[in-house]
Symmetry: C2
Subunit: 259 residues, 2 copies
């Protein structure tokens, strides 16, 4: 029996119609979909995104796999082993499996661990990744603030892993995306205030879903509960504009002014 | 006559089926599509992406707009003024216009200039942005190399605007995406060699199209012509893995080793 094929399917930031045509076709066609969720009692955001697209003939198998949101190896290792085994069982039975992942599969996604682990265990396994709309694109969209253009530089930082170097990154980059910011929100607001960047910053949670929330004055978030799927973006817009090359002028030259 | 609505439609990196369902619906429905191209003699990549999806009843108007690839204001300003005027004429006639853009409309896209300019000129204009799959996600996908996970930090740099600070960025970030790298390729290869990062780097042009090219040994690119739509990605993979928090250990802890 030859192995099934594994797909890592990016399903975008939250809105079901931000799924790509390629992902849609696979969501309809594959015999098995693996859907990660934090635990048996929490809803899977990935499932909510794909639900309107699924076949209703009962012919498709849905594996709900638990990936606890913790860094404790005593919890994580057995949970992941169980999840991987469920996928391996399907692949070894020759069935193709689509692992559904919010956003893009190769950008801060649980799929990366599935990919690395199964690639190491089954060198002959065929894996196809379907890129998706990442929240790094969706969050600026819902806020109406272009992320980067021209010569601007972008830094993307998972803030929950420490804010030590954040000050120097805030100074040297034009746009800064802070992922998983909930647990360090107070520190981030303090730092942005000290660096006089509060006016360039905004907060978004659950972008493109019906529970989307946008906060443009980050001081409102002090003492306020933020969720895991939230992001702070800082867009300085001091070097944007294609006509503002570093060799042209240090002063802003906007096209509007030239026209 | 009320103004038409303006859409900025991200159509993804190149493969027609990496368009989202939302973009697809708009590409079929809107009365006018504005398609940027570098000049009248070059094919529009954006048009090649959307072509298979377009209605064939002749009822849709396609505006080809020229956005020359130069930073010379003497060429750029009149060309842009002409392009903007073509869009404004449609909007003022009450027709909705979809401006089609490769990748995502808010990430290094010509649409940003359209957006800023028309928002300033028509404060009442309704603009909707449809995010797309950015090449920042598609390039790691075609190379089979996860971009960032866990505590990894990502920097995205338009290399053509100078490589002065590139060495320090290469040292302090885990993954680095160098956009528009063609004109500075020799410098970049030298720098990666000096920093002993050639083994972690790869080059991709025209990702997800039929002309896609992947080069894994960047030394092959010395003296070789690279194209504008090309990218170099450096992925160090020295801090990846969710079990490798900075508070846990400085040594790599891979899940594979623990299982």
């Amino acid at each position: 029996m030859s192995l099934g094929k594994l797909y890592g399917i990016g399903v975008g930031p939250g809105a079901p119609d931000l799924v790509t045509l390629r992902a849609y076709e696979l969501l309809r066609r594959l015999p098995v979909l693996a859907v990660p969720r934090p635990n048996a009692y929490s809803p899977s955001l990935a499932f909510r995104i794909i639900e309107p697209h699924l076949r209703t003939d009962g012919e498709q198998k849905h594996l709900y796999l638990e990936f606890p949101m913790t860094k404790d190896p005593d919890i994580l290792v057995p949970a992941w082993a169980k999840a991987f085994l469920a996928i391996e069982t399907e692949l070894e039975a020759g069935r193709d499996v689509g692992f559904v992942t919010q956003g893009d599969p190769f950008i801060y996604s649980t799929f990366i661990y599935v990919y690395e682990s199964l690639k190491a265990k089954y060198p002959e396994l065929v894996i196809e990744v379907v890129p998706g709309v990442t929240s790094i694109a969706a969050v600026p969209m819902v806020a109406g603030v272009p992320l980067v253009d021209g010569q601007e530089r972008l830094a993307v930082i998972p803030a929950s892993y420490g804010t030590e170097e954040l000050r120097s990154i805030l100074r040297s980059f034009d746009s800064i995306v802070l992922m998983k910011v909930a647990s360090v929100m107070e520190t981030v607001v303090d730092l942005l205030e000290e660096e006089d960047l509060l006016d360039c910053a905004y907060y978004v949670e659950r972008a493109t879903t019906s529970e989307q929330r946008i906060v443009r004055d980050l001081r409102e978030l002090r003492g306020n509960r933020c969720i895991y799927f939230s992001m702070v973006v800082v867009s300085k817009k001091r070097r944007n504009g294609v006509l503002r090359g570093h060799h042209v002028s240090k002063e802003p030259v906007s096209l509007g002014a030239l026209l």
